[in-house]
Symmetry: C2
Subunit: 157 residues, 2 copies
DNA sequence: TGGCAAAGTTAGGTTGACCTAACTTCATTA
DNA sequence: TAATGAAGTTAGGTCAACCTAACTTTGCCA
């Protein structure tokens, strides 16, 4: 069974290779905010389980299966981050929280979150104004005039 | 420093007391899907840290501070669950995922999520139709006719 | 080309959370 | 009131993930 931690390491390796071209012990240690010996140990575990190719002093590369897992985690990560940014969480915090949350959502929730984001992105401009209304609401702690008028109307009816 | 696990125990104790009137070792063990000795051990830790009053063979009650923590966690839990239900995750799964996610959100994200839910709930009927549109989209994998018409119009303009 | 700094590893230890097996306490009822 | 089963605890262990201190390897350049 894979643990959330191992998933984190796979994701970090995946990102490191994409952005730096390689994944070294110290780099991953910095990324995950742990000390190098912890990384060496995890590299060995990932190697035993067949998710990375690890040669001492040469860093790691992902196996096909390791890459598949890393990509899945990374996809969930970006969906969660996107959602948090949509509801106006700062991008640094959104990224940080996504990193924590990514391991804890069921397939069902991930699916619905994807649909939700897709919906917002494909909604025609006119229909999607609600998200701007939310942004206003988020900043000012009250509904924008346009909405309040509608709400008042609703009350009168 | 409090750990996510201790938070989980506090929440479980809080819920047990609310629904059953007391929190016994075996009950909490069942709730958290662990064995009774694990619970006894955690009860002692929570007691040492001043979050519960623990007397051997008599179960636990929450201290003022313990209750505060439990209530916070529980509030986040219900917000996350509410959101997941809004995006059409089944209530059982929403509850289960909320339980996992509740410990991993920053104050900022929790704040924005609250606002988001509040926004949806206070949005006047007319403005809030988008959520129904999303529900349609979620079931049928395409925008409702009403939205598509608007989107097509948008393209022509 | 040899020595040195940076990168990486090994050894040994800690901590949190969990377990099983065996024990004790409690509460009930014959 | 004594015995019995349920509830709870203790003892002793495992495992994942982390650490520090000390060591080895590598790559570079004087």
């Amino acid at each position: 069974m894979i643990t959330k931690n191992l998933e984190d390491y796979l994701e970090a390796i995946y990102n490191s290779i994409r952005t730096r071209g390689h994944a070294g012990t110290n780099e991953i240690a910095r990324d995950l905010q742990v000390k190098p010996p912890s990384v060496t140990e995890m590299f060995r575990k990932l190697n035993e389980r067949g998710w990375v190719n690890y040669k001492k002093y040469e860093g790691v590369t992902l196996t096909r299966e390791g890459k598949r897992i890393a990509k899945n985690v990374s996809d969930v990560h970006s969906k969660v981050r996107k959602f948090l940014e949509l509801i106006q969480v700062s991008s640094e915090q959104a990224d940080e929280d996504a990193c924590q949350v990514e391991h804890h959502l069921s397939q069902e929730s991930i699916g619905q979150l994807s649909k939700f984001i897709e919906f917002i992105e494909n909604c025609p401009e006119e229909q999607a104004r609600w998200i701007e209304h939310f942004h206003y609401f988020s900043r000012h702690e009250e509904l924008p005039a346009e909405c309040r008028a509608a709400a008042d109307k609703g009350l009168r009816d």
